[in-house]
């Protein structure tokens, strides 16, 4: 059902309506519930918000307040949990797993029919409303400017046309390779033998449920989220780090420090990197990090995941930092894979370095390095950290897709682009942490302006956050 119609129906009843409600109704498909909603409204209400819609607001699940350990608990991404398949050909199981997991999230809304059935029994389904869930194979723009997307499910492939004149076309333009989408629309009658095509009415994504809400910890405590320290680079900012360390010393309520990868600048990450290195060997770089972390307050629980500059394989999921590099690290550091889910005081943090942001920016119209928050939203909508295969982000062939966002996290913590940004999307706090490195020559060439020496402090008790800057010439903001 078209969103415009939904709004019109409420207007007829003299009511304004919250966009989330419109989305909810449009995705649940039926116009029948509108009457039910209107009839059950208290008389004083003039704006219909999710509160007024039965089923939209889930009952709040309170977090346990007893027996919460102060130690971070690794829920996903423990050392050794990502093991490659024996042959690259087995990587289809990864995509099958991705499809199954994400399709399950949409199945109730879409009621999909297997693609094979649509193709082989075209005449049976032609000209009727049908639903389908598929992984994007490729998308292109037709000569007339419509979007044509080829999708596949385990049974076959079919093309879907998104009419540029229809509502929601801007979302259709944001369809990216290898994400899993749901479609409701009409199957065209197959005349040319090409297996037919679907004309889309509504596009579905796995999404964060509208019912999801913020759920803070029951105990007081703060966590600091950073990323991309790049120790070893000649643009690393040691003075800013010193200030940061002193601040941590003076702020005992901070109990956790989460670092989302690229603690070192690494070696051989890009051509002629040695010319921009202050510390030219990888062992010395990690030793320097170890010393820096040892100098921080020992009560702090530190969680460290790797990034693309770290000395581990580039293919994601990336393993934990090998022991041979950890000799100088203090014992209060927990090493996790990239990505990983860590529970701190009953708040679940999904840590992911963010290599895929490069790909997502390239494929999502309007996305830019200045606004990584929008990319985090894109990840949450698709319930996937980096769906695009074969571009900048190498993917390890594993039996399961570790980049699927299976359970909705409380916090999504990424980095990689060196620009701080925070968003809140349907009750999930998205934090893209900045960097501890000044502008590199590469960023200068690409006209990327990083936000160095910033840290995001999240109050786990309230889920509020503040941004602190430790650059020499700036006071705390």
């Amino acid at each position: 059902m078209q969103k415009r119609e939904i709004v019109a129906r409420f207007l007829e009843a003299g009511l304004l309506v919250h966009p989330a409600v419109v989305t909810y109704i449009s995705e649940s498909g039926g116009s029948g519930i509108i009457e039910g909603i209107i009839s059950s409204l208290p008389s004083a209400v003039s704006v219909v918000t999710p509160k007024e819609v039965p089923g939209m607001m889930a009952a709040r699940v309170d977090k346990l307040s007893v027996g919460v350990s102060a130690l971070p608990e690794i829920l996903a991404g423990r050392e050794g949990s990502s093991v490659p398949t024996a042959n690259p050909e087995e990587s289809f199981s990864l995509f099958r797993d991705r499809y199954d997991a994400l399709a399950a999230m949409m199945r109730p809304r879409v009621s999909p029919i297997p693609i094979e059935a649509l193709v082989k029994q075209n005449s049976r389904f032609a000209d009727t409303d049908i639903g389908v869930i598929g992984m994007v194979v490729e998308s292109s723009t037709s000569a007339k400017g419509h979007r044509i997307v080829e999708i596949e499910d385990p049974t076959g492939t079919i093309k879907v046309l998104f009419n540029k004149n229809r509502e929601g076309f801007d979302e259709a333009e944001k369809i990216i390779p290898d994400e899993v989408i749901g479609i409701r629309g009409k199957l065209a009658r197959d005349t040319g033998g090409g297996g037919g095509m679907i004309f889309s009415d509504t596009l579905f994504r796995p999404e964060i449920p509208l019912t999801h809400t913020i759920s803070p910890s029951k105990e007081p405590g703060k966590a600091v989220l950073i990323s991309d320290v790049h120790v070893g680079s000649d643009t690393f900012l040691p003075d800013a780090w010193e200030k940061f360390a002193s601040w941590l010393e003076a702020t005992p309520e901070v109990k956790y420090l989460l670092i989302a990868g690229d603690v070192v600048d690494g070696i051989g990450v890009y051509p002629n990197q040695d010319k921009e290195l202050h510390i030219k060997t990888i062992y010395e770089q990690y030793d320097a990090v170890g010393e820096m972390l040892s100098a921080l307050p020992s009560h702090l629980q530190i969680v460290l995941s790797p990034g693309n500059h770290d000395a581990v394989r580039a293919a994601e999921p990336q393993p934990v930092l090998p022991e041979e590099f950890r000799t100088q690290f203090p014992s209060n550091v927990t090493f996790v894979e990239n990505p990983a889910v860590v529970n701190i005081q009953s708040v679940n943090v999904l840590m992911y370095h963010g290599r895929s942001i490069d790909d997502l920016i390239k494929f999502i119209p309007g996305a830019s390095y200045e606004h990584p928050g929008e990319i985090m939203e894109a990840m949450l909508k698709r319930r996937h950290l980096g769906p695009i295969y074969g571009q900048r982000t190498p993917l390890l062939s594993t039996p399961m897709d570790h980049l699927v966002i299976r359970d909705v996290p409380d916090i999504l913590h990424t980095g990689h682009v060196h620009i701080t940004d925070v968003v809140s999307y349907r009750g999930v706090l998205g934090v893209n942490a900045g960097t501890w490195q000044g502008q590199t020559s590469f960023q200068k060439q690409m006209n990327i302006n990083p936000t160095p020496a910033e840290a995001i402090v999240v109050d786990l008790f309230t889920m509020g956050y503040e941004k602190l800057c430790f650059l020499d010439d700036k006071t705390f903001s």
């Binding site: 289809f92 596949e152 060997t281 074969g390 006209n447």
Partner: protein
Amino acid sequence: MAELATSPRYRAYLDHLISELDRAMEIAQAAKAKGFDPRAEVEIPIASDLAGRVEALLNYKGVADRIRELEERMSREEASLKIGDAFVSREFGETTREEILDHAIRASMALLTEGVVAAPTEGIGKVGIKKNDDGSEYLVIYYAGPIRSAGGTAQALSVLVGDYVRRLLNLDRYKPRDEEIERYVEELKQYNGIQSMQYLPKDDDIRLIIRNCPVCIDGEPTEKEEISGYRNLERVETNVVRGGMCLVIAEGIGLKAPKIQKNVAKMHLDGWEWLETLISGAASTSSEEEEPGIHPKDKYMRDMLAGRPPFSYPMRKGGFRLRLGRGRNTGLATCGFNPATLHVLDDYLAVGTQMKVERPGKACGVVPCDTIEGPTVRLTSGEVLRIDTLAEANRYVDAKEIEYILDVGEILISYGEFLENNHVLAPPSYCEEWWRLEGGLRHPGSEAEAVSFVAEGAYLHPDYTWFWDDCTEDQIRLLSDKVAETGSVRDGVLYIPADPEVKAVLEELLVPHTVADGNYVIKTPLVLIAGLGLSYDLQKNANWNTLPPFTNGLVMAEHLSGIKMRSKAGTRIGGRMGRPGKSAPRKMKPPVHVLFPIGESGGMKRSIDNAAKVCNANLSGDVFSGTSVTTGQVEGMIHVETGERKCPSCGAVTYKSRCPDCGAHTEAVYRCPRCNTLAQPGEELCPRCGAPVVCQKDSVLSLRQEYNAALAVTGISANDIPELKGVRGLISRERVVEPLEKGILRAANEVYVFRDGTVRYDMIDLPLTHFRPAEIAVSVEKLREIGYTKDMHGEELVSSDQVVELNPQDILVSEDCGEYLVRVAKYMDQLLEKLYGLPAFYHAEVPEDLVGQLILGLAPHTSAGVLARLIGFTKAKAGYAHPFYHAAKRRNCDGDEDCVMLLMDGLVNFSRSFLPSTRGGTMDAPLVLTTTLNPKEVDKETLNVDVMDHYPLAVYEACLTYTPPKNLEKVVDHVESRVGKPGQFEGFSFTHDTRDISEGPLDTMYTNPILKGTTDKIKAELALADRIRAVETDDLAERIINSHLMPDMIGNLRSFSKQSFRCPRCKTSFRRIPISGKCTKCGAVLKATMHKGNVTKYLEIAKYMAEHYQLSEYTNQRIAVTEMNIWSTFGQEEKQQMDLSDFF
């Protein structure tokens, strides 16, 4: 047309070429008229000059005459603008404004690129007229990928032409919208990420260009990627990245702004003042202060590929010493080396191999020159000597006596190379020709005589000049002390007791010596003793008392000896191996004999024999699949997709060019693929529904019958010829097929066909201005027969040792090529006789029979063939020809290659109809034939070839002061100074002769099959490096790892995890493996395209190098980390790891 300035002799030569061409044309015309080919006439138009070439290439009737008229009055660049006037006044039949603009721009572009490259036809997609927001109209030029072949200057000038013509048509300038400007900025950056460009302007420079450029530079989509930011703009038709547009803006306007500005000024065009801002902005970034003199440059050492060794580090002692001069086989980016040098360097440099050099250019072709010095080596016996002949080099190399190469010898570089590259002259190694200019009388018979000449005022003769300037003061003092203390002179020979310190200095000085009975024995001791400040009885002389503070070893030796000397070291030039040479028949992949489609029924090998045996039960169904022979089925019926043709006289519908019923020539039929409407000739769109029309027909044909019929025509049995191979499908618009007979005859003669219907042979290009009959395998009698009656000095040609000047359109091919061309000639003769029913043309049994026959030369990325005459054969795996001939194809000789074909083959078998309809399809095809070379109308590089028999002293003196070569243009006779006079074609000379232009290694070690794989190649390279004084092995090992092995491993490791998959059955490729793991087209289980082996192939050799050479810690750790990451990607390291000794 202005008459070419020639001597009567040269005019006769040209006339002879033309009359031979006419004779061939007549026969080819007769053959074509039989109707077996797509067209009933010869499809290569003939052009005698540039103007004709432009007209033939673009097919605008009458344009040639206009161009000739303009060229009389103005420069090429001006003419290329002014020709626009003629188009605007519709002189050549243009009807619409778009057509005028389109044709004017293409014509001008063709003029600017010598009418040779494909850019004018393929580089511009179309032009259009669009509306500005204020309602005025502007010009849009859509550039395509092949615009690259035009080069930056012509790209930029094409925009200028557009501006000029649009003014004549009263179009307004392009007024870009802001979002369009930003689209350019985004797109250029993205394109640079995909295909890195030579130059990417800064964002603001791009904005400046777009905001001000009066013509809208647009383009066809060339890449796979779409833009992500500025999408769906109203006036930009595609979201896909447009490569041609990016090239024109960045490498054209951005990089060549000064050149456009020059032309703007000349033509008094307004509206281009902003170029000033662009130039001044760009200039400020490159404010490198140029110091006088020259400094080591290691640019040529970057991107070190494993297995292609360096021979000399930048300006390093023991490296190539500059010898100034031009051999009869050098110039046009080719340098000479003593054949002994080539052999001693393990044969890596063969005749025709490319060498990357430190200066004056980037690379050069390698040719032998035995009149310059060879390498100086230390033998295992300790003896140090210079090897100047190949025979000696062979002897020492065969006996494995060479322990160390102290000096790799001289490199012969001509003045013209410095001029072409605009590189300051540099001091050459002191040599006899220079010594003579400075008062040297005659070659000294002995050291004593050489010393006596000094007394008469000359410099010391180079043969006795040691490398004093390579020595430090301490070294000279040490040797002087040792000789004074322990040396003795007996019978004019100096003996010094063996002592490593002494040996080191002697090897620095490169004084030849032997080792006998514990002594170093020096047979030429006079200058050495004097230079060490000793008297003949080895006492320190009085000059020591007046020794000035040390500046240079040579100055010190001059003072101590009182002998005037010049530097023997001169300027050292670094070099390393570039591309290996090539001499091979052109084959498609897989190789085919005939352009006849057999679909999948021929299997991977495209075998027509197999396809003719295939049986098919279900010919009516949509899917055809080949099955094995079963009873009751018809043999050899196959489904093919061909063009549709119709016989104009009997109306038969066929796929053949000649009507099988009545023998008339058939015509292609185009229809609409949607509504089947017939299109009229010339119509590209369906008259009813507007869809592009196609010439296409699915036919079932009895291949068995056709094959048998063709065999009958040729009189050949299928058993007597190699397996006949066809193509899978046709890629041309007309989908026209070749007669099977052609394939059978090609197979019978073992020659292969290229996609345009011709048979070609590829060779590396080398220049030659003079030859000896003895070295080209042709008798004096034969040469006299074809017009070579005099040698270069005007003497009657009687002996095979005389030196003869080469005519610019005569060429030598490699011996292998000669053999191949004999087979092509036999094929052509049989074709003429059997298929066309005409008499044989070549009657060639051995290569010499082809001497005097016409050849068509053609370079890649160009569309103009050059007429040449075959006059001989060389052992070298290269095509030796006159610099003019190479320049006419827009080639120089630094490792470029191109092809030759027999003229008759080109005339009879070439057809435009075979060419693919995709962009770039007409590149590398002979769309026009240049009959007459004019130095004014070929690549300008050839104007800088110098042609003197010796340089004046002023040149050597200028070298000593690092003078720009331009300053000496007046005193050095070079081609440019002869243009327009009869001397432009003949009377050339050279400074250095060589016995044989193919003396030296003929095949480079790099491609030698004894080196199996990269590991072997690296080992061999490092072993050679260990033996060369001018090369640092540890540094080399590090460079190989960092520029080849690591990027390869890391790159492959990354792409392993991003790889695509391929269907082994139907060849479909998948960007990502489908969810099912199976081919979504045919259901087969998919295969990975990258395997563990691709990633790990260099790991062991990299670890070996880390172990055996001193690498930086950074590199060592990179290897270690990469190894760790490899195992982490593939799972744990295998237990049974091979021992390193298994590899070495």
